[in-house]
Structures are given as structure tokens and as C-alpha cells.
């Protein structure tokens, strides 16, 4: 039990202090729109230069853990996901806040994050040797099918009409093809020099969610609008939330398992873990129509998934130096700086630092939940800020957050343009989540298809390449199942409506 042996190292006063600072800082950074976990970790790596290896890694690990959960805070309170991983949290989290149940929603978020997160780290601790080679089984064809599986989720993402949801998703996919294509080496659709770098995912995420939210707030601001008018009513004890939360076994199980599997797959990342588990939970629910209107299960599934992803995303990183998520990729830089070369030897030659780091991740999950639950009750101070201040603050944050992603003002322009267009899109019945999902999945699908095509053309041909192999077939079956089930529920709902109106 190596992880118990090195637990005291993670608990030394200095390391514990760093752990607390990292966790609190991570929660705050994560809750800031535009500061995604990837960015927060990247920005902190230079600070770890001067620290001893274990403290530096504890800081990075705790920030990674806490930012993932912190992103849910702005998702629930302000309807702006702090990172792509929190998109699914918005769908039911914000309706809960609007109903004056913000604190309750935050409780679910942190409790589910804790459960998912701890399960994820336990997978990292106990199953790393078994799972080490799992990541290597994924080549271009497998990753292509994973992206397609993600696309099948689009239809059910909180749009009033499935057709409009799919259309918005396809539009997102199209937007993702703007800019330089790394495989074909061409620049596409660069109508203006602002588009040279393509559409950055974080810039799009901020724009599509924050700007319509700002404009929506301003519609009612001058008459004194607020996010929720019922903020005074809520007195919710953590214990009540906890009891309800652990009774939602189905949502928690689906969330955690999906998160763990997605985390192990290189390149897919937590960005889609939350969405896939949200979709699964909704499809398996007895009454899918409750989702999108403030169903706690939605928050529970999404948040347990995106925190469950953290531990497993480090399995391929620590054993193969193949990161399981974009944030893990940045973390690799942090490991190298301290002379820790991922590989089979990491757990033996650098056992102390490695295990201290893993223990810190485990403790970080607990601290994240403790601090998160403590701040939850102050959520009313956010929801009662009057709309004019909220809108002003969100606008400025959106600009800062977007700029700091790549230090590129073009991204700010793209963010504002997309956001304003989305405001009108929402008026016409489209919603932002499918567009963002399209922008995320587009490059994964296209790059892997293009690479796969190059490989296939030099060997067995495109069709056999993409349609043979166990993992490919399993993924294709899942895609077909996902689409089939969507059609089935749609038809069933339509019949029921007909039956009800007659």
C-alpha cells in the first residue's frame, strides 16, 4: 500500500498549506469564466520552478482538481460554464439557481464531484498497471468514432427542438473547420485576418454562453432584475443535500463510470465526459422531460463525471507520457521540469514524489468538497447582485478571460461576434451547448479521419480501416444505439403528446 506509506509526506504542514492554497485558488480560478483548468495549470507551472518537486506537483494537482469543480460554480450561478467540462452542468444547474435553489445545486455539485473524484483517483491508485496500455489501443479510427459518438449526443442537449439542436451542432462543427488544418496544411475560410488561428474553444465557450447571458440580464436590468428573486427563501443544510445526493445511485454510477472511461482515452478529455454522462442519465431516466428544467440528477451526473475523469486522465500520462486530457498534457510539462519522466519507472525510482502527488490529488478532492460546500451558502450573494453590475462584470471578465487564453485579441473579436450572434440565435430557439460541442468535436473527428484516411490508403483501404477492430465495432454499436434510442424516445414522446391532446 504505497499510497498509505507516503500519506504523511502529503500531510506535512508546508504541503498541507500548499494544498489548501491550491484548492481555494483553484476554486476561485475555476469559477472565473475563461480560466479553464488547462489555463490555470499552465499559468502556475512557472511558479513551481522554485519549489521542491513534491510541493510543486501538489500545487498543480490540487489546482487541477479544484478548477474542474470550480467551473461548475459559474455554470450554476451565472449560466456560464467555467470550462468546457462544465457545459452539461449549466443545463440543469442554472434552472435550479433560478428557482432559488442555488445552494442546493452547489451542494450536489461538490458532493458528486467528491464521489466521482475519489473514485477516479482510486482507479489511478489501484488499476494503473492494468490500464496502462489501454490508451495505446486508440488510434485515429477509434478516436474518430469517439468524436462521432459525441456528435450523437448533440440532439438531446437542452434544445426545445431536436432538429434545431442538431442544426446548431452541425453549425458548430462547420465553425471548427475555420483556420489552419494541421493535417492537410491548408488555411480554410479565413475571411478575415482575425480568423487565422481558427476559433478557439475557450473563446467560443465564453462568447456563446456569456454574451447572450449579459444581454439577457440587461433586458431586465433597468427595472432591477436579478438572477433569482427567491434568494431569501433558501436555507439548505449540507446533510439534507448529502442524503438526497447519495440516494441518486444511478446518476452517480453513470457519471463516475463514464468519467473514468473517458479519462483513460487520450485526447477525448473531460470536455465530453460531462456531456456523455448527462445524456446517458437522461436517456435512462424514467422521465427524461424533467431534464433541462432543474433536475438534480443532471448536475449530479455531469459533475461526478468531470471530476471522475481527473484521476484516470493521469494513468496514461504517468505510465506512457500520453496525457488523457488537455490539462494532463500541460501537467506533463510540470512533471518534466522537476525531472520526473513518466514511464514504468516513475513509480519505483521516484516513488516518494509520485505517491505524494497522487495522495495530494486524493486529499485535494476532499478539501475541494469541504471548501466548496463552505462557500456554497454564500451563493445568494452572487444571485442577488443586481443585473447591471453582474452584466458589467461578466462582460469585462469575458474579455479578459478570452484574451488571456492565447494573448490574442482576435479571440476577443471572435468571442464577441459569436456571442452576439448567439443572442439572436437563442431568440430563434437555438441553444449554445450544441454549438460548443460541435466546435469541440469537429477537430477531433476531422483530424483523426484525415490521419486515418492517410494510413488506410497506404494499407487496407478506408472502409476496412474504419470498420474493423473490436474497439471500432463497439464504438459504432454505441453510436447506432445512441441514435436509435434518441429516435425511439422522440417518437414515444410525440405519440404521448398526440394521445394527450386528443
Amino acid at each position: 500500500m504505497d499510497f498509505i506509506r507516503y500519506l504523511p509526506d502529503a500531510l506535512s504542514a508546508w504541503n498541507l498549506l500548499i494544498l489548501c492554497i491550491g484548492t481555494i485558488g483553484g476554486l476561485v480560478l475555476g469559477a472565473t469564466p475563461g480560466l479553464s483548468p488547462t489555463m490555470a495549470v499552465a499559468l502556475l507551472i512557472p511558479f513551481t520552478f522554485q519549489m521542491p518537486a513534491d510541493s510543486g506537483l501538489i500545487l498543480l494537482g490540487s489546482v487541477y482538481t479544484a478548477t474542474v469543480a470550480g467551473g461548475a460554480v459559474s455554470a450554476i450561478l451565472v449560466n456560464i460554464p467555467g470550462a468546457p467540462a462544465n457545459i452539461a452542468t449549466v443545463l440543469d444547474g442554472h434552472p435550479l439557481a433560478q428557482q432559488g435553489r442555488a445552494t442546493e445545486a452547489l451542494h450536489y455539485c461538490f458532493i458528486s464531484s467528491l464521489i466521482g473524484g475519489v473514485l477516479g483517483v482510486l482507479v489511478l491508485i489501484f488499476f494503473t498497471p492494468i490500464l496502462a496500455n489501454f490508451a495505446l489501443k486508440f488510434g485515429p479510427s477509434e478516436l474518430f468514432w469517439i468524436a462521432i459518438l459525441g456528435v450523437t449526443v448533440i440532439g438531446s442537449l437542452g434544445s426545445k427542438s431536436v432538429l434545431k439542436g442538431l442544426f446548431a451542432g452541425a453549425f458548430g462543427l462547420w465553425l471548427s473547420t475555420i483556420g489552419y488544418d494541421p493535417v492537410m496544411g491548408v488555411e480554410r475560410f479565413v475571411f478575415s485576418s482575425y480568423l487565422t488561428g481558427g476559433i478557439n474553444i475557450i473563446a467560443a465557450l465564453i462568447g456563446l454562453f456569456a454574451i447572450p447571458q449579459v444581454l439577457g440580464m440587461l433586458e431586465s436590468a433597468a427595472s432591477g432584475g436579478r438572477i433569482s428573486e427567491m434568494y431569501d427563501l433558501e436555507k439548505r443544510s449540507v446533510w439534507t443535500s448529502f442524503r438526497y445526493n447519495i440516494s441518486r445511485v444511478r446518476a452517480l454510477t453513470i457519471g463516475s463510470i463514464t468519467g473514468i472511461i473517458v479519462g483513460l482515452i487520450p485526447g477525448a478529455g473531460g470536455q465530453i465526459a460531462g456531456l456523455v454522462s448527462y445524456d446517458q442519465t437522461r436517456k435512462m431516466s424514467r422521465d427524461p422531460s424533467r431534464f433541462g428544467k432543474g433536475e438534480p440528477d443532471g448536475v449530479i451526473a455531469a459533475e461526478s463525471a468531470n471530476n471522475a475523469m481527473v484521476g484516470p486522465s493521469l494513468v496514461p500520462l504517468l505510465t506512457l507520457s500520453v496525457p488523457g486530457s488537455p490539462t494532463a498534457a500541460v501537467l506533463l510539462g510540470g512533471l518534466l521540469i522537476h525531472g520526473l519522466f513518466p514511464g514504468p519507472n516513475l513509480f519505483t525510482t521516484h516513488a516518494k514524489v509520485t505517491w505524494t502527488f497522487i495522495d495530494a490529488l486524493l486529499l485535494g478532492q476532499v478539501l475541494m468538497a469541504v471548501f466548496g460546500l463552505m462557500i456554497s451558502r454564500y451563493s445568494r450573494f452572487v444571485t442577488r447582485v443586481s443585473n447591471n453590475f453582474m452584466a458589467a462584470a461578466v462582460t469585462v471578465l469575458a474579455v479578459f478571460g478570452t484574451y488571456s487564453v492565447q494573448n490574442n485579441f482576435s479571440d476577443v473579436m471572435v468571442m464577441m461576434t459569436l456571442g452576439t450572434a448567439m443572442y439572436f440565435g437563442i431568440k430563434l430557439g437555438f441553444s449554445p451547448a450544441p454549438v460548443v460541442l460541435g466546435i469541440i468535436l469537429g477537430p477531433i473527428a476531422e483530424t483523426n479521419f484525415a490521419q486515418g484516411r492517410l494510413i488506410a490508403e497506404s494499407s487496407q483501404g478506408v472502409l476496412p480501416y474504419f470498420f474493423t477492430g473490436t474497439i471500432n465495432l463497439v464504438l459504432i454499436a454505441l453510436c447506432v444505439g445512441s441514435i436509435g434510442y434518441s429516435i425511439f424516445t422522440e417518437v414515444r414522446a410525440a405519440r404521448r403528446r398526440k394521445g394527450a391532446s386528443q
Binding site: 473547420t177 488544418d181 433597468a222 469585462v396
Partner: protein, 147 residues
């Protein structure tokens, strides 16, 4: 012509435009993906059009209207913010944008009261922003003439 039907037609026109943009460069290998997506969009838009053709079908999800009279100052502020951010510097323009939005849309009766409330808030907010971005994260923002 009802609004849902217009939306579907608009969506169809948009997808055809995007399809044309993908076909025009004439490089089938690198433009395969956008082409396929544009065709999918066109099919979806056509399906929307068919479904929404009968006005009765569109009941319940009619587009809501945009309150232009309330929102035009916000659009003006956005445009000014984007245009001035690089020449004037990020912190000054952000502060101006914050003050402008919170004052124009203040629920307070008079502008003086509104401004009195907004100024302290604006300094606190930008102070925190400066601390987080510049001192903590060391993000470099464009510096303009003043700050």
C-alpha cells in the same frame, strides 16, 4: 409569413452559403469535411422547414422578440470596447465599459445616484481583476497610451 418559417428558410440559406464556401476553393480532399457538414445542415434545415410549414406545428416555440430600444446602448458599448481596448489599454477601457454598462442600466432613479453606486464597485472589481490577472497569473494585456 410566420417567424418560425422564416427561421427555417434562413437556416437553409445559411447552409447553402456554407456549402458554396466549401466547394468554391475546389480542393476536394481538404474541404471534404466542411462540405459534408454543410450538406447535413441543409438537410436539417429542410426538415425544419417541412415541419414548421403548417403554422399550427410551430405553436409554443415561436421566436421571442429582441428589445432593441433597451439593448442598443449595450451594443454601442461592446463595439466601443472592442475598438478602444488595444489603443487605450485593457484596464482603462475595461473600467470604462464596466462603468458605462452598470450606469446606463442602473435601476436607480437618477444618473448621479447610479454613478455614485457604480464607481466604488468599478474600482473594487478592476482592482481584483488586476490582482488576479497581472500579479497572480502574470497575464500581459495590451497596454495603451494611459495604462
Amino acid at each position: 409569413m410566420n417567424a418560425t418559417r422564416l427561421t427555417s428558410i434562413g437556416a437553409l440559406v445559411l447552409s447553402l452559403l456554407l456549402y458554396w464556401a466549401a466547394v468554391a476553393p475546389g480542393d476536394p480532399r481538404s474541404y471534404l469535411f466542411p462540405e459534408v457538414i454543410a450538406i447535413a445542415m441543409a438537410i436539417l434545415a429542410a426538415a425544419m422547414l417541412v415541419r414548421n410549414w403548417k403554422p399550427s406545428a410551430a405553436k409554443g416555440n415561436a421566436p421571442s422578440s429582441v428589445p432593441w430600444s433597451r439593448l442598443w446602448p449595450a451594443f454601442v458599448i461592446f463595439v466601443a470596447y472592442l475598438l478602444l481596448a488595444q489603443p487605450l489599454g485593457f484596464y482603462l477601457t475595461s473600467w470604462l465599459a464596466f462603468v458605462a454598462i452598470s450606469t446606463v442600466y442602473s435601476p436607480a432613479e437618477s444618473s448621479i445616484i447610479g454613478a455614485k453606486r457604480c464607481l466604488p464597485a468599478s474600482f473594487v472589481f478592476l482592482g481584483i481583476l488586476y490582482l488576479v490577472f497581472v500579479l497572480l497569473l502574470q497575464v500581459q494585456t495590451p497596454r495603451g497610451v494611459l495604462f
